[in-house]
């Protein structure tokens, strides 16, 4: 994402200077990525919330016998089957809303972005690294939950794998752009934490953490399906059952991704 800004080369630059800087860009950005990854590993809260908590929740719920009984309300599925998509969504919400915004708002608050803007590396490299790392961690966590479901509780793997992956990728993008928007609007990491939590619980509700979307009353389910994580939950369930996810759900996700990314880009301040 920072390619456009760092590699703009004025016309009157000598060829050697151009190639030196062109070679510098990727090296500098990978150094930023490495150091942000190191820092991510030093945040026990984020590591737990993204990587341990969601699969752990699945394991605990699966250990409750009632979750393993087939439920006529869920069309003959077991409750644990309905909870796998929920625990797949959970790390994305945690990464996007709990882990990333306080870090980015803190970077701005402490002048880290500002300091970096006096170097040849654009501060957007930090934003990109944070989004990449949090997105990748959420994605890994989702795969762990699928594996736990399959191995421990015999939950079938998504039958429509391509549709499932597409929905998953769109969801990661939505979660990160929502987080970027929170970071953009919050002046301090404390405010980012507060806004993140305020959005966190409705997001978890929509994802079906307390009540899977399939079990919600019709009107409520209709509303929830228009929210990013409600649509994501539905799309993931359909793909898991072997159907191509409804375009309406994918469309809702894509629309949110565009709107949230646009808003975050418009409002993000480097200092």
């Amino acid at each position: 994402m920072s390619t456009a800004t760092t590699d703009t080369t004025p016309t009157d630059t000598t060829p050697t200077a151009v190639s030196a800087r062109a070679a510098q860009g990727p090296r500098a950005r990978s150094a930023v990525l490495r150091s942000e990854f190191r820092l991510f590993r030093r945040e026990p809260g984020a590591l737990f919330g993204v990587l341990v908590f969601p699969p752990g929740l699945l394991a605990i719920l699966g250990s409750v016998p009632a979750f393993r009984d087939t439920d006529p309300d869920l069309g003959g599925l077991r409750l644990i089957d309905a909870y796998v998509p929920v625990t797949v969504l959970l790390p994305m919400i945690v990464a996007g809303l709990q882990a990333m915004p306080p870090v980015l708002a803190g970077y701005r608050e402490r002048g880290i972005l500002r300091r970096m803007s006096t170097t040849p590396v654009r501060p957007s490299a930090l934003l990109g690294a944070q989004m990449g790392i949090n997105g990748a961690a959420a994605f890994c966590s989702a795969l762990i939950s699928l594996a736990v479901g399959r191995l421990a509780f015999d939950v079938t793997l998504p039958r429509q794998a391509v549709g499932y992956l597409l929905a998953l990728v769109l969801t990661v993008v939505v979660a990160l752009s929502l987080g970027a928007l929170v970071s953009a609007r919050a002046r301090t990491s404390k405010i980012a934490n507060a806004i993140g939590s305020a959005v966190f619980f409705p997001s978890m509700f929509c994802a079906g953490v307390w009540l899977p979307v399939q079990s919600m009353p019709t009107t409520l389910a209709d509303i929830v399906q228009c929210t990013p994580f409600g649509a994501a939950a539905q799309a993931l369930s359909q793909a898991a059952a072997g159907d191509w996810p409804a375009w309406s759900h994918l469309g809702v996700l894509a629309a949110w991704a565009v709107v949230l990314t646009g808003a975050a880009a418009r409002w993000f301040r480097w200092e």
Binding site: S35, R38, L39, E43, R110, I112, R115, T118, P120
Partner: protein, 307 residues
């Protein structure tokens, strides 16, 4: 210092206002390559805003700024490659260690310095494994200085270089900056320590309320102060204060209760004083003649001493 070539840093008619209030107004100066140029002024005088315009962190409302021929705003990407900056209130990631921060910032530049000798010079070698958040104020400051220099810059901008450093570290840092300058680097230094300005700077711009109040060498600024020479003595007999006040070049006369008299003025004042005392057969005990410091000149120039 006279310059034959075009200055490396040119600031001409710089103006910057916040909410309609001009914080920098018609500021102009040039810094020659290899010069240490100081910007001195009371708090809120517009020092930091001026250097932020040089660094490309702020866009001037009016005026022209060039660093090595580059416009800091328009050519920002190219400027960053030859600029080292130490900013006020600007940190690195709290959980990054000193070593990791040095390695990270080295990787940003095409031709960085080896950070190890730099860390040793700044007495950070025992702190390489310590996280930024655990460093003391002085250690953080030394890391910021290292990060400003690690990119092997042509121009270094240092905003409040030695704030938070103990006297020993301050002197070490001054020596380091002198060595950096001797290797051909141009240094723009914001400070409010007179001793630092006097020791390091080839020339100093004194900024007060957004305008340049004086621009000269440290010695030049001191000689401009109204009372450049200070004489104190205890007279062996009575001296008429009116006669003292009428001596050539006298700026002030102070007669303390213990009998000590303090005169400020110029060189000619000292000669005239001694002649006067000899005529009255008065001996000057404990006679001390000293030069005014940059402190005195600063207070004089900025009007901060008038109360």
């Amino acid at each position: 210092m006279t310059t034959t070539t075009a200055p490396l840093i040119e600031v001409d008619g710089l103006r910057k206002a916040y909410a309609g209030r001009a914080v920098v107004d018609e500021v102009s100066f040039g810094v020659a390559e290899g010069e240490i140029f100081g910007i001195l002024g009371p708090n809120g005088a517009g020092k930091t805003t001026t250097v932020e315009c040089v660094e490309g962190l702020r866009k001037p409302d009016a005026g022209r700024v060039r660093v090595a021929g580059l416009d800091p705003v328009r050519d920002h990407a190219r400027l960053t490659g030859l600029l080292g900056a130490q900013l006020q209130e600007s940190e690195v990631q709290p959980k990054l260690t000193v070593k990791e921060a040095l390695e990270l910032y080295s990787a940003f530049y095409p031709d960085p310095l080896d950070w190890r000798p730099l860390a040793e010079r700044l007495r950070l070698e025992d702190k390489l494994g310590t996280r930024f958040a655990k460093l003391s104020g002085g250690q953080k400051q030394r890391l910021f200085i290292a990060l400003a220099l690690v990119g092997n810059p042509r121009v270094v901008v240092l905003d409040e270089l030695t704030t938070g450093l103990d006297p020993r570290a301050r002197r070490d840092t001054w020596q380091l900056i002198e060595d950096v300058r001797d290797s051909g680097v141009t240094v723009l230094l914001v400070t409010h320590f007179m001793e630092e300005a006097q020791r390091l700077c080839d020339r100093i711009a004194v900024i007060d309320q957004g305008r340049i109040a004086a621009l000269d060498t440290p010695a030049g600024l001191i000689s401009r102060a109204a009372g450049a020479t200070v004489v104190t003595f205890v007279p062996s007999g009575p001296v008429d204060e009116r006669e003292l006040a009428e001596l050539p070049g006298v700026a002030s006369v102070e007669h303390r209760a213990d009998g000590r008299i303090t005169l400020t003025g110029g060189d000619e004042t000292v000669d005239a004083l001694l002649t006067l005392l000899a005529r009255h057969h008065v001996t000057a005990h404990q006679l001390r003649v000293s030069d005014a410091t940059l402190d005195d000149a600063f207070l004089d120039l900025t009007g901060a001493g008038q109360s």
